[in-house]
């Protein structure tokens, strides 16, 4: 079982977490002014990264908070976790994200 570092609760077993898709996707601030293609891209287009991927996780069976994680999609290794709204730690990304 993976041990995931919750930014609030510390190291916790994988069973307590839920995956929340790619992180750092900003909703257009004025949806009425974007084109249908732009809106479609916001809704559906994802990077599908092979390697270090920034993604959202939720500690659903713990503190209930969403946070972001950098995970290597080829090895399933969690490189870093950080609170929602924060930038990914530069040292951990190696410039990949």
């Amino acid at each position: 079982m993976l041990v995931i570092q919750c930014p609030f609760c510390g190291p916790r077993p994988e069973l307590e977490f839920a995956h929340g898709g790619e992180a750092h996707i900003a909703r257009p601030s004025d949806p009425a002014s974007v084109t249908i293609e732009e809106w479609g891209a916001f809704l559906y287009l994802r990077k599908n990264t092979r390697g270090v991927h920034a993604e959202r996780w939720r500690h659903v069976r713990g503190c209930g908070r969403f946070f972001n994680a950098l995970r290597d999609t080829t090895t399933d290794q969690f490189i870093a976790t950080y609170k929602a709204g924060e930038a990914p730690p530069a040292s951990a990304t190696g410039g990949a994200v």
Partner: protein, 180 residues
């Protein structure tokens, strides 16, 4: 209001499990200002450190999330406490919900308490990783539970009412391995 003691599920009689006294429970959500006001009304300081519980007498405040607490008091104080908390919290945005009848309190005790819990809960329950006074939500097999270590070998467990039989039934199966 429902008489809580009348509708409590019956617990199997075990030497490692006991029910807790009838309890009133509030789910509190709010920022630091709301937390301070609620603490004053409750007569204790709400824990700021993650996964910690503070108690004073029969009352307790359990940290569940950065802005989320479970407040516990004897059932008899429930009505008065609700009015008191609502009045104290009125000046600041908050959410105060009575969840007294959503879940029931159990106590696992004895030298095998953490061993029994670890049959279905993947947390490290050693004293170093889960010290006295720590509380957290977690999972027990397919159900969610709230764990609070009150003493080295006493765990207070809050479990949603309809999962009581599931929880105690599984524990009873595991406990067949216990000596005596």
């Amino acid at each position: 209001m429902v008489n809580a003691t009348a509708v409590l599920p019956t617990l199997p009689s075990k030497h490692w499990l006991r029910g807790t006294a009838p309890t009133t429970r509030f789910s509190l959500r709010g920022n630091a200002a709301a937390q301070q006001l609620a603490g004053q009304a409750l007569g204790l300081t709400l824990p700021v450190e993650a996964c910690r519980a503070h108690s004073a007498g029969e009352r307790a405040a359990l940290w569940l999330g950065p802005d989320e607490y479970l407040l516990i008091a004897p059932l008899i104080e429930g009505e008065a406490l609700r009015a008191q908390l609502a009045a104290a919290l009125a000046p600041t945005p908050h959410s105060l919900v009575d969840v007294s009848h959503r879940q029931i309190g159990l106590e696992l005790y004895g030298p095998h308490a953490s061993w029994l819990l670890n049959a279905g809960c993947p947390l490290d329950l050693g004293l170093a990783a889960f010290p006295i006074g720590m509380c957290t939500r977690s999972v027990f097999m397919k159900t969610e539970l709230l764990l609070w270590r009150k003493d080295a070998d006493v765990f207070h467990v809050e479990i949603w009412r309809s999962f009581t039989e599931y929880f105690t039934g599984l524990l009873s199966e595991v406990a067949r391995e216990l000596p005596g």
